[in-house]
Amino acid sequence: MYDDPTDPQRHLRDFIVTNFYIPDGQPLDEVTSFLDAGIIDSTGVLELVAHVESRYGITIADHELIPSNFDSIGALARFIQRKRGSDGGSNDRLAR
């Protein structure tokens, strides 16, 4: 699978659907709140953070661990794009 480096949304959605339980009928669009919808709990957030750091080659600082960066596919994709623009996160992990 190859991600569009400018838009990680498709990969993030695949990761969420594969690793967390999405009940039948539960919408999962780019603005669905992971926490409000009960899709990801606090342990799940740890898993998501570790995955994003590893896959996108970025290091996430404590002060960046806020819901506005992590609580939906759209928010997280935009955060990743900003980070990769600012710290030059590597692209070589994307062609998995």
Partner: protein
């Protein structure tokens, strides 16, 4: 709605009446429904286990309560002395069950330390550690666990825990609560007693326990009581001053750690008030005014309460059957 008064504790003679009500309920539950003839209580030197032991003495008499001391290598230095003081005050039989050898044999410390070593390579046996969470009052940060380790000469290192490491640290540490429960049931079976669990309402409601560890018991006499109320009963039941003055601790990790910093983020009286207010639909602004917090802080505490309740559903769930059996007599799910 204008103004809200924090009113968690018992008034007037309510505390004495509650002691009598719990003692009667314990007799009915343990002797009548469970058909056991007394109670085993693990004594930690904390307020909750002390009050549960005293309530069991009221219910069954001192000669039908066994207190267990189950210290391990990382227990706080005053745990054993305080627990013994309660047992002496209550005049109950006690048994020493040091659990460090069992924990060593099962790999509790080694498995935990191996996990920590992967994120802090300098960490080794002899260092101390604890898990910490950002305070829920300090802004909108997601609450992810970090580990704090301290070398024998006092140097501290803090590191955020990756998912797999966090899970292994918690899984290994939970041996402590599960080994204790195994020994409580050994003595309960030996004496034909029931195991009395010691969670208060905050712990029970918010899932501050280990499933099949300290979460397991035959009866939980104070699970309906706010911590404020537990302190009131402690006063009434003659629990020693030193225990009533001690901040609630986890006594689980080798570095000192209060329950407030590990789990609740608020002193117990404020946490009681927020839980009560959350369940009565009190707007955050009124609670904030009463507690000296900001409305945003109370709103974050409310969200944290809801998130912990959601996580606690797994902890409270009994083994689930595909087809409920509907057994006559009613113990099946």
């Amino acid at each position: 709605m204008t103004g809200w008064r924090v009113d968690v504790g018992f008034a007037g003679g309510e505390a004495e009446a509650e002691v009598a009500r719990i003692a009667a309920a314990l007799r009915d539950t343990v002797l009548g429904r469970l058909r056991r003839r007394g109670a085993v209580v693990a004594l930690s030197g904390g307020i909750d286990s002390s009050v549960v032991a005293a309530l069991c003495v009221r219910a069954f008499g001192a000669d039908r309560v066994l207190g267990l001391f189950m210290n391990e290598a990382e227990s706080a230095p005053d745990t054993a002395r305080l627990a013994r003081g309660v047992a002496e005050r209550l005049a109950i039989a006690t048994t020493d069950e040091p659990i460090a050898p069992i924990l060593e044999a099962v790999g509790c410390y080694a498995r935990r330390d191996a996990a920590i070593h992967t994120v802090i390579p300098r960490y080794r046996a002899g260092w101390q550690c604890k898990l910490v969470l950002p305070c829920v009052l300090d802004g909108e940060r997601l609450r992810l666990f970090s580990i704090v380790v301290q070398s024998p000469d006092g140097e501290q290192i803090v590191a955020r825990l990756p998912h797999a490491v966090y899970l292994q640290v918690v899984a290994a540490t939970s041996f402590k609560q599960r080994v204790r429960k195994m020994l409580e049931y050994y003595h309960a079976d030996r004496l034909h007693y029931a195991v009395a669990g010691t969670p208060n309402r905050l712990e029970y409601d918010q899932g501050f326990f280990v499933k099949n560890g300290d979460g397991a018991a035959d009866v939980k006499p104070i699970a309906h009581l706010y911590k404020t109320q537990v302190y009131q009963l402690a006063d009434l039941l003659g629990i020693p001053d030193e225990i009533r003055a001690r901040p609630p601790t986890t006594d689980t990790y080798s570095l000192p750690q209060t329950q407030e910093e590990f789990f609740f983020s608020l002193p117990y009286d404020q946490m009681d008030a927020c839980l009560l207010a959350r369940d009565h639909g009190i707007p955050p602004a009124l609670v904030a005014e009463a507690l000296g917090l900001t409305p945003d802080q109370v709103a974050r505490v409310y969200r944290d309460i809801d998130a912990k309740r959601a996580a606690a559903r797994y902890l409270h769930a009994p083994p689930l059957l595909i087809d409920p059996l509907g057994i006559p007599g009613g113990w099946g799910p």
